[in-house]
């Protein structure tokens, strides 16, 4: 899901970079207001976790690979704004140091996996209205949150890929950037995430939320605790 350099036209990556920068400015204010200093180690670990979990490539047999992102569990535990900052740091380091995801596509990749995904995940989880005591409901809510948010992020990424032939083609009709249109990109990205990668994101999200519920339930942001005033 890390869009490389050369797949998106400037008409796509520049606006997405703008949206990402604007979202970051809001995130800084929100995190300052929401996050207690004693939770700083969790922010560091959340970013590191996102970095590592994306290294676990999983195969569609005979086909492509993909991976979980970790944005869903971080959004539930630390809040969507903190997740945004943490996952952005991981993505930017992946791009700069490891060439995973393009430099020109940093805004797009951060918008997809660090802005869109944690917010979808967080509000999906909240929609279940699960209280900490209802453990199996929390587990299911966390699974659906991880599953749905990754699948939707994959579709968003596919849309960014798939609109390229429409907005930027050479006079002879050849593609300039991503050569595949929406009718190819969306099914390809959606199916692999629906059948495998989304499930993995869901299971990871549910297991880690359950682990925190048992060991550090006061932290869980989605339950309205863990802020500065608790």
């Amino acid at each position: 899901m890390h869009i490389p350099d050369g797949y998106l036209s400037p008409q796509t990556y520049i606006p997405l970079m703008g949206v990402f920068v604007a979202a970051t400015a809001i995130a800084v204010k929100k995190v300052r207001k929401d996050v207690s200093a004693r939770n700083i180690p969790y922010l560091g670990m959340a970013a590191a976790f996102s970095f590592i979990i994306m290294m676990f490539n999983l195969p569609i047999p005979g086909g492509t690979t993909g991976h979980a992102v970790g944005s869903a569990v971080i959004a539930i535990l630390l809040g969507p704004w903190a997740a945004m900052v943490a996952v952005s740091v991981a993505l930017i380091i992946q791009a700069l140091i490891f060439g995973d995801g393009g430099i020109t596509a940093i805004g797009a990749n951060c918008f997809n996996m660090a802005v869109f995904m944690p917010f979808v995940a967080y509000y999906t989880f909240k929609l279940f209205g699960a209280r900490p005591a209802a453990k199996s409901r929390v587990f299911i809510a966390a699974f659906v949150s991880g599953y749905l948010s990754l699948v939707m992020t994959a579709v968003l990424t596919a849309v960014e890929f798939g609109i390229q032939p429409m907005i930027a083609s050479a006079p002879d009709g050849k593609a300039l950037y991503c050569p595949y249109d929406l009718s190819i990109a969306i099914p390809a990205m959606a199916i692999e995430h629906l059948v495998l990668f989304g499930i993995v994101e869901g299971v990871i999200t549910a297991m880690i939320v359950r682990y925190f519920l048992k060991n550090e339930s006061g932290l869980i942001y989605a339950f309205g605790k863990g802020g500065k005033n608790d």
Partner: protein, 119 residues
């Protein structure tokens, strides 16, 4: 590097750090399993050469931008040409530890700049 601020960490937080370190060490799973199932690149993350094989030409924009950045540790390996699976696993683990530690430290620094508690 992982021990920054360790003095202030709770037992639970230290335990989580060890779990993260453990995850770094088992990252080569992310190489082995795809290899076993004969799975290749992620969708949309092909090199310019692979795209040429797929559609018969290299899109001009892809050609122009694909080499815009030379990452110091491209593809989480220190030697792309090394065919030894054991060596590649080692490179992958080192990349994981370097990358995760760097991410951790950068995020801690950013968090400290952002979060200013009145303590």
């Amino acid at each position: 590097m992982l021990s920054v601020k360790e003095g202030k960490m709770t037992k639970f937080q230290k335990k989580l750090l060890f779990i993260l370190l453990g995850l770094c060490i088992i990252t080569p799973i992310g190489i082995f399993i795809p290899m076993f199932f004969d799975a290749g690149d992620a969708w949309g993350e092909w090199s310019a050469e692979t795209v040429k094989d797929l559609i018969g030409y290299t899109p001009a924009g892809l050609e122009k931008y694909s080499d815009v950045w030379n990452a110091p540790i491209p593809d989480y390996t220190m030697n792309v040409d090394d065919t030894s699976v054991v060596h590649q696993s080692g490179y992958y683990i080192v990349s994981g530890i370097v990358g995760a530690s760097l991410t951790y430290v950068v995020m801690l620094l950013i968090s400290k700049l952002i979060v200013r508690d009145e303590e």
